[in-house]
Symmetry: D2
Subunit: 334 residues, 4 copies
């Protein structure tokens, strides 16, 4: 039985962490109160809430907290990581603060200043399907972005199998539910602006792009990415287009994916010609992958779906915690 | 051909005013720039926008503006009304600033201070179906709230016909789309808080209640009102419950409504046992009214529907302007 | 460990039963294949489905099935109940086939013929909070309708406490998500007819009304009910209006509810002046109840919310099964 | 003043035709009653409906109908086209019956048999921006599919300007609102299956693909198309990816589009780096086009948006009728 703290429990990812950890048999969760906010929704009398302590290293140490989840903005994550790590508490950070490996790479994609470049180098990128062993020994795990989680799981096996015509480029057309934009009110995520609407944003420039490049091995010039805002609460669906070289049949592509994922508990494959939709994965930690292939032309269209708050955030963070603490990797997630 | 100004054209009611006035054959509309805001959505090249001038009385006078629409918060409406009226420009105000007749009544329902109590007394409540003659000569028209527009059109004819058992009370269960809450970002109207949700608010205490009391003649103790937030962009549907006295048939109720509304262009009635839904009225200036009646018990259930941005705001404001300026009352609204 | 069968597992209530029973530690569930249907959504390779057997009494007996859930239309439920009961298998029926006690009452509200009037008399109405002891020994449990579940939990304690002015009547304005209408395609539940729309239906005539009358003790003439179709997938919210007699304070009303529900695991109360919304209850078996009270006028507005597929159908059916089989009443439901 | 008939006025495209033609100053519209259907929604008393006649050539001739719009399934369109053309009435068909030029091409993409191959050859493909002159003299106009309308307007100018690296292929990731699937109830378009979901369908195989190939000049092997079902009522947004050759700047791309569309009333362009969303075009006949370009890599991402029921169906059909009858092309459409 371990103790974990959640910072940012009022946000959507933080609330999902609290909800999922509430069902984890080896964890006692604490809310780390970082800001006082008022809630607009009422609660029933006598609701037993997660216990709450101050969001400081001394308070967490006093309580015996082993791991802290940071569901916070980049700057806050940097500050708090320094503080908790100094106190010997391991950190799983859900922001983009530590994903990009080097200060140069970070500065290229993020406007924020970075106070802890040494942690950029140290942090392990927590995509368990590819970096499981590194996660096991990490002090600080950088939980992947939601879009790159689906994109990398769909793309990397094909790149590694050397069946992609990289000259033709890879297109990733990504659509996300609105919780992916966080809980802070803004005109862009107001109901009457999003409902019955659909829009593309951050075309070619989304700060999740470098995560795909780092994990898949693609060059930026080879990869075209567009994010879109879907009028749904949860879920990401990515439609990925590429051209193959030397692939005779859809079965060959399925074999490549099966060879990669046969022992994975959270990646599910579909028969050629069939694909997942959002309902296949919402409220689960699965990444579902299906595809349509046209052998004569080599046109391959892959559809990958995840729940942005689970496999794309809180679920994957718990998967990383399970690895970190030596628990069964799926504990609390099925 | 007259000139009109719109203050608050970035809000939902103001934008609807601009859109509707763009199709009005006897009006040139101007945006009165009150605040500088940035927009998050792009516009096509060469889009011919409504001309824009400063939101001051001198600028409006210089341009020859005859009428100003205020789609602004209560305090702003009070300040601007004083300024424009002093310059001889007529005002149609869409806020709650001037609806309640007396300072006492205003103070009972609104937290704001009121700097212009004389305008409270002077302003004409612009529900044309009942106060058309007064609107015709007004300097300042107070456009009704969205909820009271539907409620009063449904309730008042029954009260006047003396068929309501007032001891049993009247219930108005009202549901509104999210544009009714305005465009200012807030957690309460964020997409992920509203979508797939449904909530009651301001139970028994909504500040639109006194408008129903004033127009229908009901006492507060006789009237139960609950507002609800519907996960749709537009539309209000109110389900109204009362018990009749001395009514033998549904046809009698239909006759009462028909006697009241036979010459009205924006009130439509339904056969007994059939009722409108939101699609009956969205994007129109109609108020649609239908009902179900059970003669033995006297239980009468009335359903009234409007578009909150049209008959509940911008459309009714233009209807009032048409009356004020001697145009055909339906000009630009069909 | 018991074995249970689910008929109608492709419908929304049946699918929710299968999902919830998958997490019940004392149950092995079987799909009883009653009709062959094709699905339009794909499934991942190797998905371990619930085992499937023929929907006949011999097949169920051979498999050792103890209880069958019928998530089927009224006529199918009548036929299958006769068959399974004859084979000694207990039945929990989610349709309206056995809720109304007598053939007369059934004939008044349902168009279907009833082949098994003896079961109408025998079936126990499975609202555990009021009929728990009867459920314990039943051969056939009739699971309540979704609307009456929330209405009865909100209304009956007030009636029993004799604080309701019944002359003034009780109004129940009910709104339901679209899964409540079942999964069979129809124009009324097509996306483009429901989305951005909102409509009232079955005004004063809904066949769930008699369930409220039977459990609450109200007369039909005292009760006004309107159902509305909300553009959301799940959830029911009911706004209930009545006038009290001899109640001095909101605390008195809270006491009445607390006296009734203090030991209930699935009814939650809110502080006076605060109420639940759909998000309070969706994906749970809770019925949440809050209210606003005005002592001078006696106007009481109660808001009750449930998930129509859980407390309003599958969850309550499992709660009944738990009682029937002597399990902890909340097993598999928290 | 001409007389036009609408077949299929109960469907979404037909209803939009009726609505738009109601505001067209040079047209009297008739409903041609082809099937008797019941409606589930009520109508106000005294609503003046479009006049209705039998859907036969003699009835239409007797009434003096000049043009018939067919908003019907493929087989019905073929039968009715033969009948009305034989009677000297011009036909604007909104189905896919006559879009593909030859019987071979039709047979490759459509399962239906084709009884009128001569009309396949004769029919003019009614995309006015490219085939305006041919439309002017046509007996039968085949109104384009919704997806190809946006795709062709976005792609063809770039192909003609020879700036596309066709070896790398063009990707069109298309998303449509649910009215695009028609009004016939089906599980795929049921509210609870679509709402909060998002899905890809007809990957690489959509029968709208050949319309893009025919108009743009692309080969099938060069073009990857995926359709997606968006949980909104109206609107299509297509994100189109290609790689350029010999293009130094975004301005060059804008020039190409401006050269093509400078005199077009229904195509609007956006400044480089900005793109339309659905709200830019819903309830209008515009096709809005914006793009993001990366000169070093040649990656070009174009976003095109239309209202599937207006520019994608009824609006474009009226635009074609205006051309056919010598009216101003924008009559009734602004």
């Amino acid at each position: 039985m371990i103790k974990v703290g959640i910072v940012g429990f009022r946000g959507y990812s933080g609330a999902e962490l609290e909800r999922l950890l509430g069902g984890h048999p080896q964890v006692t969760a604490y809310r780390l109160e970082h800001r006082q906010d008022t809630e607009h929704r009422a609660e029933p009398i006598g609701r037993v809430a997660t216990p709450s302590i101050a969001c400081t290293a001394p308070a967490a140490v006093a309580e015996g907290v082993d791991v802290v989840f940071l569901a916070t903005p980049v700057e806050v994550s940097i500050d708090l990581s320094l503080e908790f790590l100094a106190a010997g508490i391991r950190v799983i950070d859900l922001s983009g603060a530590f994903r990009l490996g080097t200060l140069e790479n970070f500065a290229r994609w993020y406007p924020e200043e970075h106070k802890a470049p040494q942690l950029l180098a140290e942090a392990v990128y927590g995509l368990p399907e590819f970096y499981r062993l590194k996660v096991a020994g990490a002090r600080v795990v950088s939980n992947p972005g939601c879009y790159p989680t689906a994109a990398n799981l769909a793309i990397r096996p094909l790149i590694e199998a050397r069946i992609v015509n990289r000259n033709a480029g890879i297109v990733c057309d990504a659509k996300s539910g609105v919780t992916g934009a966080g809980r802070k009110p803004s005109l862009k995520t107001s109901f009457s602006e999003v409902n019955e609407n659909f829009s593309a944003y951050s075309i070619q420039k989304h700060r999740h792009v470098p995560e795909v490049l780092m994990t898949s091995g693609l060059e930026e010039s080879e990869f075209s990415f567009t994010a879109h805002l879907l009028p749904v609460n949860r879920g990401i669906l990515e439609t990925i287009y590429l051209r193959t070289v030397n692939v005779a049949s859809a079965e060959r592509i399925l074999e490549i994916y099966q060879a990669q994922y046969q022992n994975e508990r959270f990646v599910r494959l579909y028969r050629p010609g069939t694909v997942p939709d959002l309902f296949s994965v919402t409220h689960t930690n699965f990444c579902d992958i299906g595809f349509q292939f046209d052998p004569p032309s080599g046109r391959l269209t892959v559809v990958a779906a995840i729940d942005n708050l689970v496999k794309g955030a809180a679920g994957q963070a718990i998967q990383n915690m399970n690895i970190l603490m030596g628990f069964d990797e799926a504990e609390g997630l099925l």
